[in-house]
């Protein structure tokens, strides 16, 4: 007997007391809020992202290129995903901008100072940004290895709480795209439960909220 057959057999034997029914036929009590009641999505999102000690700035669309340039700080080498609107980097003069074509190795990305990406969803209650790695966000390594992540979120991408966030990105996952949920810069509380920001992921998260 293969391990598969044996395990499935054990499962079925273990459940001999349970009347057979089709999976999914049991209704799950979902009395929790599937849509959060939030007065001011933008204000809450800003407050909650700041709570993680990330930087959040509200910018008008026409101010965005200047805000991107400012957020890059003293970065000299910047990588951008292939689908990101190039005009967003128009004000970043004197910076070496690399558009990812998929060929950069992890070691090469480690020598890049910053990355600029868009996002798929912003969740207000938890202060979370979800990337579905569409072309304006790029492959996962881009927003992981460089130490500074400048992330552009549009106010019309904001939702209230986690259920609305999951609903927005579930189809991307079903279609085979990875998802990265980001809530502040990388952090650890492994030493005496004291939170320290900045471990392996980008130590600086700079969110530009547009609109």
């Amino acid at each position: 007997m293969t391990a598969r057959e044996e395990i499935l057999g054990r499962v079925s034997a273990a459940l001999s007391d349970v009347p057979r029914s089709a999976p999914g036929a049991t209704s799950i009590p979902r009395e929790y809020a599937e849509v959060a009641v939030v007065d001011d999505l933008v204000a809450l999102f800003v407050e909650r992202v700041e709570d993680y000690r990330a930087i959040v700035e509200r910018v008008r669309p026409e101010e965005l290129p200047a805000a991107v340039a400012a957020a890059l700080g003293d970065s000299t080498r910047v990588v951008v995903p292939p689908g990101l609107d190039p005009s967003l980097l128009a004000a970043a003069t004197g910076v070496d901008i690399i558009t990812d074509d998929g060929s950069l190795t992890a070691a090469e990305l480690d020598r890049v100072d910053a990355v600029v990406t868009a996002a798929a969803v912003g969740i207000a209650v938890t202060g979370t940004i979800v990337l579905d790695h569409a072309p304006d966000q790029g492959r996962r390594a881009l927003s992981l290895v460089p130490d500074r992540h400048v992330c552009i979120v549009r106010t019309d991408q904001l939702v209230g709480d986690v259920p609305e966030g999951v609903a927005k990105v579930a189809s991307a996952a079903a279609g085979g795209r990875p998802l990265t949920w980001i809530s502040g810069p990388s952090a650890t509380s492994d030493i005496e439960l004291e939170r320290v920001e900045g471990v392996h992921g980008p130590r600086r998260l700079h969110v530009l909220l547009v609109g």
Binding site: T2, A3, R4, E6, I7, V11, A14, L15, V18, S21, A22, P23, T26, I28, P29, R30, E31, Y32, A33, E34, D51, G102, A106, D110, I123, V125, T126, H133, R139, R140, L144, V145, V162, P163, V166, A173, A174, G176, R177, P178, L179, T180, W181, I182, S183, P185, S186, A187, S189, D190, I191, E192, L193, E194, V196, G198, V199, H200, G201, P202
Partner: protein
């Protein structure tokens, strides 16, 4: 530095023996008190923010029960979805089989090292030791796991395996050990969390950048899509899940969720219960192989290793709802004092006390004693995000342990004592005489208040104080005060 337990759980003594030793470790007790109270307060704050918390717990428990009672269907569906998404699915009956599968996969890539995401399942099967025996170095990349690994220590907490270590101890470990396995700690390393985290970042970065194979577990595996989910904080998980060419995930068969939608419940329950945050810094989800992004060879090992034995028990199977948040450890008065090592497993605390005897059976001294490692106060149930009735399960397992003992031929001291008590209680005259005797004892013992060890009753009285008998019993008092009333 405090004592150095060996890296394995074989031959662990019974809980009371190990607990006594742990209670004498003052540094550890101080570290644990500080850490458990910090996390307890954080959790209470963020759970208090959620108006529909109880509804989320109810939904979480119901989803897990739906999975467990239809596990065969969901496992088959998960396998289909994973295969369709380009992953290779393996099945492992037990730890040895899982370790053989993973070792062979790593060897096939021609590498002698792997980077690892913190994973309870791989701790449980002692994968690192199996890989080491095959000449493969397994680098733990979670900060706390790194501390445990470099310290040749054992994890003592599900979420924060090095919770028993303080910053000064961690500094010592890093200073002495990092250089032996890679990038050494900087000279004059400060005993500060930020400096220690920076040292770990530098130490691990070269390993992330060169590793060809990564090994992870999964917090959730979605049957409908084949999506695996890892919840973490430091970015070490993202590094492992993204950079290497090959990813092997060892996933317990109880980790399945039916639909993506179900994540909306667990991504609220888990972070708030676990680290006491509204959301953990990073959650990664991947569905098989994504061309041009991340590992191009993806394996999933579905692990039984005793889970089907847990599933067999109608009452006990709810322990498989566990999402390994560790909230029950942090609120437990027993765990807070004795720490995790005394539980003799990678699953310590209240959930360990119900999970280990079910996963491993109740044959060893430690597994027989674990159902008693609790005062049944119920704080664990209140904190559990999936409403596992841990106190009820502990009593259930105590019954199992007692029933197994009963089948032995000679009656135990406890049984004899209970028989004696039954004889005494069943006759009013005998009972009255016993009271007279007790009063005499009470007068002799005077105002001592409690009795410690009682000769001949060591097994019971070693860990329990009994009140000294009163100089006057209630019956005598009643007789004296109200004796004439009818």
């Amino acid at each position: 530095m405090t004592s150095q337990p060996s890296g394995t759980y074989v031959g662990m003594p019974a809980f009371p023996t190990a607990a006594k030793e742990a209670l004498d470790n003052h540094q550890q007790r101080k570290n644990l008190h500080h850490a458990t109270h910090t996390i307890r307060d954080k959790r209470a704050r963020v759970v208090g923010e959620v108006a529909d918390w109880e509804a989320l717990r109810v939904a979480g428990a119901a989803i897990k029960d739906e999975v467990l009672t239809h596990l065969e269907d969901y496992l088959v569906q998960l396998e289909e979805s994973l295969t369709r998404a380009g992953a290779t699915v393996h099945w492992a009956r037990d730890a040895a089989e899982a370790n053989r599968i993973v070792t062979a996969l790593v060897q096939a890539k021609g590498t002698d090292e792997v980077v690892k995401v913190k994973s309870m399942a791989t701790q449980e099967i002692e994968l690192n030791e199996a890989l080491e025996a095959a000449g493969i170095h397994a680098w733990e990349t979670d900060l706390a796991e790194l501390i445990v690994q470099l310290g040749h220590d054992r994890p003592s907490h599900i979420l924060v395996p090095a919770i028993h270590r303080n910053r000064a101890e961690i500094k010592e470990i890093f200073t002495h050990e990092m250089g032996k396995v890679g990038q050494p700690a900087p000279d004059g390393l400060a005993a500060e969390p930020a400096a220690l985290a920076e040292a770990a970042r530098v130490h691990l970065r070269e390993k992330f950048l060169r590793a060809k194979v990564a090994i992870s577990g999964a917090n959730f595996a979605v049957a409908e899509t084949g999506t695996l989910c890892v919840v973490e904080s430091e970015g070490n998980g993202r590094m492992c899940l993204t950079l290497p060419e090959t990813l092997i995930s060892v996933v317990g068969i109880e980790k399945v969720l039916p639909r993506m939608t179900d994540l909306e419940v667990f991504l609220q329950l888990l972070p708030r219960s676990s680290t006491g945050e509204r959301m953990n810094p990073y959650t990664s989800m991947w569905t098989g192989v994504t061309p041009g992004d991340g590992p191009q060879e993806v394996h999933v090992v579905l692990l039984d290793n005793g889970r089907t034995s847990v599933l067999e028990d109608e009452v006990g199977r709810q322990a498989l709802r566990c999402i390994r948040c560790s909230a029950c450890l942090n609120v437990c008065p027993v765990y807070e004092r004795v720490g995790g090592h005394a539980y003799g497993s990678v699953y310590p605390g209240p959930i360990g006390a119900v999970l280990n005897p079910q996963l491993r059976g109740t044959t060893s001294a430690i597994d027989k004693s674990l159902p008693y490692a609790s005062s049944l106060c119920g704080a664990c149930f209140d904190a559990c995000p999936v409403r596992i009735e841990i106190p009820e399960l502990l009593v259930h397992l105590r019954t199992r342990v007692v029933d197994e003992k009963r089948s032995h031929r000679l009656p135990s001291g406890e049984e004899l004592a209970m028989k004696g008590a039954a004889w005494l209680f069943s006759d009013a005259k005998r009972w009255e005489k016993a009271h007279k005797g007790a009063e005499l004892g009470g007068r002799v013992l005077g105002k001592k208040g409690t009795l410690g060890r009682i000769p001949g009753l060591g097994a019971w009285s070693d860990a329990r104080d009994a009140p000294t008998p009163p100089a006057e019993t209630f019956r005598t008092w009643w007789q004296r005060e109200r004796g004439t009333e009818k």
